[in-house]
Amino acid sequence: MFNKSSNIKRIIPLFVLWGFLYPLRSICQEKFLLQENEMPGFRLEDQYPWMWVVGEGNIFHPTINQKWSVIGKENEEIYISYGEFKTISECIQSIAYAATKSYSVPYIWGSLTGFIVGDGSWVGMPDALFFIRGNVGIQIFKPGTSHETEKQMLISISEKILNKIEANLSSEISAYEEALKQKQISSNDYHIIVEPVFGLDIMKAYSLHSTWDSKWVIDSNRVAMGIRSEWKNEQGSIIGIDICKFDSIVEAQKACEQMNKILSFLNHIVDLDNLSSFKTIIAESRQYGLERSISLVGSKDNFSLHLYLFDSTGIDTNLVFSLVEKITEGIGNF
């Protein structure tokens, strides 16, 4: 026996829900999803529609969620969400919102490991990771009691997914990235800019760990490509330097403003001609309990800089000051 009128009322919201989840079939393609044979030691428990809150918090973006369990440790679960966007800029801005504002606990820029994960990543210490590659966004999330070793597990899984994305990027996105590369700062120019940094004694303890193309959103339609490298010391401290070259000073400034929104909820913009301004940023980070990491963004001429550090013992303000000063000096060589 069924109450027909109640049934209909109950079903209508589900149709609405299916309405916005339905595009999932065409947008988020299965080509990016990890399969069980690609995840030895894990069992795929479930795969189902999910959603991220993106835009300015008013858009639900359909994604696919996978629930994995660790074989032999059935109560250990890992969730992976896959979301595909129309464009690279939409992907970066959407994931930035999702990562930095849509969850109660803020994600922090980077991976904090020395590994550059995709075109950009945010980490929820130490058991959650958001990253983007091209027009694809990924969230890996391991709820429960966390250990540092699990961070490496997340990085390892992210590498598998990155390989799948790399092999399956659409031809449009690949062509767009190729076009960005034509205007990318040259490797030689990048090294000229960062070269003064290596005159600092402290840098002798750091070695280059990873390098990747970076993406700088200029506006909702345009993206520029830079170069980003991370150096790491034996204690696990990270120094990351991302430099991008633009067609104009105005573009460089716009891109800095966009990057500032992408990184986190804090202000990261520093006046490269007045380096004392970064002390305010450090002070604000510390007030929010973020004394172990910092990100600074600034532009000079048609170059933009994103400098970020992670130090488990706390950020050395003098080191940050020296690094910004030296990089600004390097940009001045052009």
Binding site: M1, S6, V105, F141
Partner: protein, 353 residues
């Protein structure tokens, strides 16, 4: 149907009177099934409930031939609940035109069936809508059960002495709600009522029920806090996944307060978001054993004119689960340390799936 051991002996005695009235011994009459929710609405019968988003409650709720014994739901204080019952006899078509039945009860029954006539209009089967009288549904939230003991008092209008004992039905477990369930859980899930009616048992007011559900959601739901994802981006609550998984964030727990209380009939519970970012004082998140501090982009709580927060305990020196607290009063004082604290307009989860 459970039989009582002495029935055989009773039947031996009864056979003589049966023979006298033209029935072939041994007479056998059974209750085949019982509907507690047999029609639309709940003016006469039980409320419509479902197991969850995808599973109906099979009816008739009590149907032993299918090993079925499903729960049903009433609203506190209801009287004269009706049930639809099918009987069967073994005397062949036309041998019994009608009978009178009554019940006694044990457990927490909302009334018993006074002597009522049942017509066998379909061969050896007869159905009747019977009314529970001499009692009422309790005046508070509960998950209770009862047994009915069925007796035939007359056959074809002739009194039986002794009355023929059919047997016992049950246990009939039923939920007692505060009031009519509210959207988005206007058709309550038993997966929710199994928690809500136990957590809020013996509560007869909305405020005390919201308090108990908030406190028990924190202590008894078995979730562990993780703020890196959610099952409940307003206005959608993926309750199916939430119940299946071990983790929860503040939005999930606020949704529990709203949805679980509305399932039992609280009309005005909502959720309220507090925008940050802010650094919070030491808290004991749900499922945690250690007090922590940190930064939140925002926090979200259950709302019933005041804060009902099933996600955290506050005040390490004298811990409490916040219930009925002013959002800018003691609650803020014990949670907020530094940054922005901007309570938003209360809002509502409208879709649960």
């Amino acid at each position: 149907m459970r039989r009582i051991g002495y029935m055989v002996a009773t039947l031996m005695i009864f056979a003589f009177s049966e023979r006298a009235q033209g029935f072939l011994p041994p007479l056998d009459i059974d209750v085949v099934w019982i509907y507690f929710d047999y029609e639309d609405g709940y003016a006469n019968d039980a409320l419509r409930i479902v197991k969850n988003a995808s599973t109906e409650i099979a009816k008739p709720e009590w149907y032993p031939a299918y090993s079925r014994n499903n729960r049903f739901a009433y609203i506190k204080g209801q009287t004269n609940r009706k049930i639809k019952v099918r009987f069967w006899h073994n005397q062949g078509e036309g041998a019994i035109n009608n009978m009178h039945v009554r019940t006694t009860g044990s457990g927490y029954y909302p009334g018993t069936i006074a002597e009522s006539i049942v017509y066998f209009t379909s061969g050896s089967f007869g159905e009747a809508i019977l009314t529970m009288t001499n009692g009422q549904v309790s005046n508070y939230v509960q998950l209770w059960g009862f047994y009915y003991y069925w007796y035939v008092t007359k056959l074809n209008g002739q009194p039986l002495d002794p009355q023929y004992y059919i047997g016992m039905t049950g246990g009939h477990d039923y939920y007692i709600l505060l009031a009519a369930p509210q959207a988005p859980m206007s058709v309550p899930w038993t997966d929710v009522l199994d928690y809500a009616c136990v957590w809020a048992r013996n509560q007869s007011t909305e405020s005390s029920a919201v308090t108990k559900i908030t406190q028990n959601a924190y202590t008894s739901l078995g979730k562990t806090y993780n703020g890196y994802d959610t099952h409940a981006p307003v206005p959608y609550f993926n309750l199916t996944k939430f119940l299946a998984e071990s983790w929860a964030d503040c939005r999930d727990m606020s949704a529990v307060v709203q949805v679980f209380t509305r399932a039992i009939g609280v009309g005005t519970t909502q959720v309220r978001r507090i925008n940050g970012q802010f650094v919070f004082k030491p808290i004991l998140p749900i499922g945690y054993t250690q007090w922590i501090t940190g930064t939140w982009n925002f926090h979200q709580v259950g709302w019933y004119s005041n804060v009902y927060d099933a996600c955290v305990k506050l005040n390490q020196s004298n811990p409490r689960i916040p219930v009925n607290e002013n959002i800018n009063g003691e609650y803020k004082n014990d949670l907020y340390n530094y940054g922005y604290w901007t309570p938003q307009t209360p809002t509502t989860y409208t879709t649960v799936y």
